[in-house]
Every structure is written in structure tokens, then in C-alpha cells.
């Protein structure tokens, strides 16, 4: 699964760290660090974390179907510089 935290909105209440400690933690006092691609097994914890956030800074994204469809252009040795 993929998530995003709006770190401008985040005010370091830390409720997410309690709900999903494998996904969210503080690095030094108040800087939130999180795994933007947590294991699917953590979905329930992440949902709880999103609900618990007092400022609704956590959003859970859709699956990766779109990216799987994204075409990657092969260059085969050409340089674009």
C-alpha cells in the first residue's frame, strides 16, 4: 500500500506512531519519518493511524495499477544530454 503524510500539516502529535509503530516514528523529538509504502499486512494499523491523526495529515492511496501501466521509454544507448 502507499500513503502520504502532508508534513506541512503534521504537528507532531504522534498519534500515528502509537497506532502503527512499524510505519511511523519520530526521528529526533518531532520530525515524523514514515514508510510511504508500508506492507499490506499493516493496512489496518495504518487506517487506525490515519483516523487518529488530529489534523488528518495522513492519506492512503490507491493501488499501483496506474504505475504498472506506465510505459517506460527505452533509450538503448542514446544520451539526451
Amino acid at each position: 500500500m502507499r500513503i502520504i503524510v502532508d508534513l506541512n500539516r503534521c504537528q507532531s502529535f504522534g498519534q500515528c506512531c502509537f497506532a502503527a509503530p512499524d510505519v511511523f516514528h519520530f526521528h529526533n523529538a518531532e520530525a515524523l519519518e514514515y514508510d510511504p509504502a508500508p506492507d499490506e499486512a499493516r493496512r489496518w494499523d495504518v487506517i487506525r493511524a490515519a483516523k487518529a491523526c488530529p489534523v488528518q495529515a495522513i492519506q492512503i492511496g490507491l493501488d499501483d495499477e496506474e504505475y504498472e501501466g506506465a510505459q517506460r521509454e527505452k533509450t538503448h544507448g542514446r544520451s539526451y544530454q
Binding site: 498519534q15 487518529a52 488530529p54
Partner: protein, 402 residues
């Protein structure tokens, strides 16, 4: 330009006859986001303004800094050096001392125990036709857990019930004039303080399990808490871990009993519980209003609050503000936009929120799983005295007999 309202809406809220449903009074408060009553108290009842005040450094939680005489009397004792009534910088330091030990590992580690206690409490009443959700479940569960968390011995748990009830009662602004209540609270406070002091002495001699001993023996800090600070912090956690969580569980269950379709849904889909608890925190918060004073003149919503004024932030009213929440008086466990004020906001945001959430989520899932078609015996149920720490005193349900 100050709006004076002759109708003392706060007194109506404090009036016990309105305990079961203060919400229409809150709605009338919201007609003026900020107003002053004839008794000089400033009431802030709308979402945006409450949120702003909770985060505004011009507002203080240290009521001694206000000019209200009534506020002075509460805070003249050593016990009151808990961080809930402090301002930065001292607040920040003391809260940090406690939070350092109140970790995700500690709280999440309680999950099996919470489940165990919840289950055991319902086992004990399995054959009964009637249950008091408060006395038989919502009270003993958080009390057991907080005592274990703190390291208070099980056999002493019953001692606190009376002391805590007396303290809460005296804290209610409606009881300020009641001499007997005030006196009882004073002695309860003393007894509680002495108990904690003895417990701390014991842990000093022999480290034990729990948070109190951990805080006591933490030598990693540049500066240690004083014994009074440790006592006050422990008492704060004890009381908060008691009263408010009990009310959250009871308020949740009351709401579910009133909306049996949601109760059934919780039975079938326990995964809705996280959002459901947030909606209860909005809809029937265990803390209905909080106190502040001002450190300087504050102009807000067309009113100028003078320095030192007694201010009431009516969280439960803000949670029902139609300017913030669609259809605010509707209990909707599927509501998505829930940025409630149930745990406050700003630097005093409830320390115990993660534990309260965990306990309540487990409690409700277990209740819904085990109690088939419970019916409210009496609606509204009898309520506790307190207008601010509001919740049912008893919540009698009749059960479907097996």
C-alpha cells in the same frame, strides 16, 4: 465590542437537570462564537475559534495567572504541579519527562492484557439478564489497566474510587461554593498525595513494574523530576486514565445502544471501530469543556478578551458546529472528515489519547461481540455530577438471555 448576554448559558450547562442533553444549550452559545456572561466568564463555543485558542500562545492553562478569585483556590497546593495546568517552558519539560516513558511499545504492549481483562469482565457476568455497563465494565477496565500501567498494586485500586470521585466533583465549576464538597476534595487530595508518596518511597527502595518506578529510576535526564512533580504527574495520569476513559467507553456504548443498527454493524464488521470511536469523540466527548486564561488582551471574533479573563472552551459545542461539520448532530460512524476536539488540541493534547483509543476500541469490539441485542433500560441514563467530565453514572442494559 463585547456582547454581554444576560442569560447565563454556562450555568445552564452546569445545572444537573441538563446533564443528559446540554447540546441545545451549546447551540445557543454558538450564536455568538465568543461572548462574556454577566458573571464575567468568557465562553468560546465555535469550532474555528476554539481550535485557534487551543493553539494560541496568548492563552494559558495556568489559571493562577488569571484575575478570577474562584480560579485561585483550586491551584494553591503542591499537588497541582501537574503539567495539565502549566505553561511552557515548564510544561514542555514536565510533559516530556512523562511522555518519554509513555511509548508506543509500552501502550501497544498492553493490548493482550486489555483484551484479557475485557473478556474476563464479561465472562463474570455471562449468565446475567442485566448489566451495568459502567460498574461492570466501563469502569473496572480502564482502572485496572491504568493501575497496572502505573505500577499501582491491584489491592489498592478500590481505594481510589472514592478519592477520585471526590476530586472530580470538586473540580466542577458548579460545585465551587459547596463547602462540604470542597472539604472532601481537600482530604481526598491529601490522602491521594500521601498514598502516592508512600508508593514512590517503596519504589525508591525497590524498583517495581510500571511507569512510576520507571520515571523514578530514570537517570538519563539532565534534570530529575522532584518528588512532588512525580506525585502530581502520577495522580494526573491516574485520574485521567480513570475518569475520562470510563466516560469514553460508556458514551460510546450509550450511543450505540441508541443506534442499534450501528451496534449490529460493529458486531458484523469490527473494523469500523476506529472511525466509530473518533465519531464518538466528536459526538459525545468525555471532556465537554476546558479552562484557559489569557496572558494578554486577545481580540477574537469581534470580542476583546481582557488579560487574565476566565475562559471556557466548550469542546463539545465546537464538535457540533455546523460551520465545520455537515449535519453535526447526526451520529455517523462512516463520517470521513472528523477533526474533532475530543482530545483537545495544541500542546496540551491528551497524553493518554493512544491508550484511550486502544482501550475503547478493544472494549467496544468485545462488547459488541459478546452482548446480543442489549437494550437500554433507561434513556437517558443517570449521569455523573460533573458537567465537564460528562458521562453516565450507570448504564443499565437488559440482555438477550441464552
Amino acid at each position: 465590542m463585547t456582547t454581554i448576554t444576560h442569560e447565563n448559558l454556562l450555568n445552564q450547562v452546569l445545572d444537573y437537570t441538563n446533564r443528559a442533553d446540554p447540546y441545545p444549550i451549546y447551540a445557543r452559545m454558538r450564536e455568538h462564537p465568543v461572548f462574556v456572561q454577566d458573571d464575567g466568564r468568557y465562553i468560546i463555543s465555535t469550532y474555528a475559534e476554539i481550535r485557534a485558542c487551543l493553539q494560541d500562545p496568548r492563552f494559558s492553562s495556568d489559571l493562577r495567572k488569571g484575575y478570577s478569585q474562584a480560579d485561585q483556590r483550586i491551584v494553591d497546593e503542591p499537588l497541582q504541579v501537574s503539567f495539565i495546568t502549566m505553561d511552557p517552558p515548564k510544561h514542555d519539560w514536565l510533559r516530556h519527562q512523562v511522555m518519554m516513558h509513555f511509548t508506543p511499545e509500552l501502550i501497544n504492549g498492553l493490548r493482550p492484557r486489555i483484551e484479557e481483562v475485557a473478556s474476563a469482565l464479561l465472562d463474570a457476568h455471562e449468565q446475567r439478564a442485566r448489566l451495568d455497563i459502567v460498574d461492570d465494565f466501563a469502569y473496572p477496565l480502564p482502572v485496572t489497566i491504568i493501575c497496572e500501567l502505573l505500577g499501582v498494586p491491584r489491592e489498592d485500586v478500590a481505594l481510589f474510587h472514592t478519592w477520585v470521585d471526590q476530586l472530580i466533583l470538586a473540580g466542577d465549576p458548579g460545585q465551587a461554593a459547596n463547602k462540604e464538597v470542597v472539604q472532601q476534595a481537600k482530604s481526598a487530595r491529601t490522602e491521594l498525595r500521601q498514598y502516592m508518596g508512600r508508593l514512590i518511597d517503596k519504589f525508591q527502595q525497590t524498583p517495581g513494574p510500571g511507569l512510576i518506578s520507571a520515571m523514578l529510576h530514570d537517570t538519563t535526564q539532565e534534570k530529575q523530576m522532584t518528588k512532588d512533580e512525580l506525585i502530581a504527574s502520577s495522580v494526573l495520569l491516574l485520574i485521567a486514565g480513570h475518569v475520562t476513559t470510563v466516560n469514553l467507553i460508556a458514551n460510546s456504548m450509550l450511543t450505540l445502544l441508541r443506534y442499534p443498527e450501528h451496534y449490529e454493524r460493529l458486531r458484523r464488521e469490527p473494523s469500523i471501530v476506529a472511525n466509530l470511536v473518533e465519531e464518538v469523540l466528536r459526538y459525545e466527548p468525555p471532556v465537554q469543556f476546558v479552562r484557559r486564561t489569557t496572558l494578554t488582551e486577545v481580540p477574537i471574533a469581534g470580542v476583546t478578551i481582557p488579560q487574565g479573563a476566565p475562559v471556557y472552551l466548550v469542546l463539545a459545542s465546537g464538535n457540533r458546529d455546523p460551520l465545520r461539520f455537515d449535519d453535526p448532530d447526526r451520529f455517523d460512524p462512516d463520517r470521513t472528515d472528523i477533526e474533532h476536539l475530543g482530545f483537545g488540541g495544541g500542546i496540551h493534547y491528551c497524553v493518554g489519547a493512544p491508550l484511550a483509543r486502544l482501550e475503547t476500541q478493544i472494549a467496544l469490539v468485545e462488547l459488541a461481540r459478546r452482548l446480543q441485542e442489549p437494550r437500554l433500560v433507561e434513556d437517558p441514563p443517570p449521569y455523573r455530577e460533573s458537567a465537564s467530565l460528562r458521562g453516565p453514572l450507570h448504564l443499565l442494559v437488559s440482555l438477550h438471555n441464552r
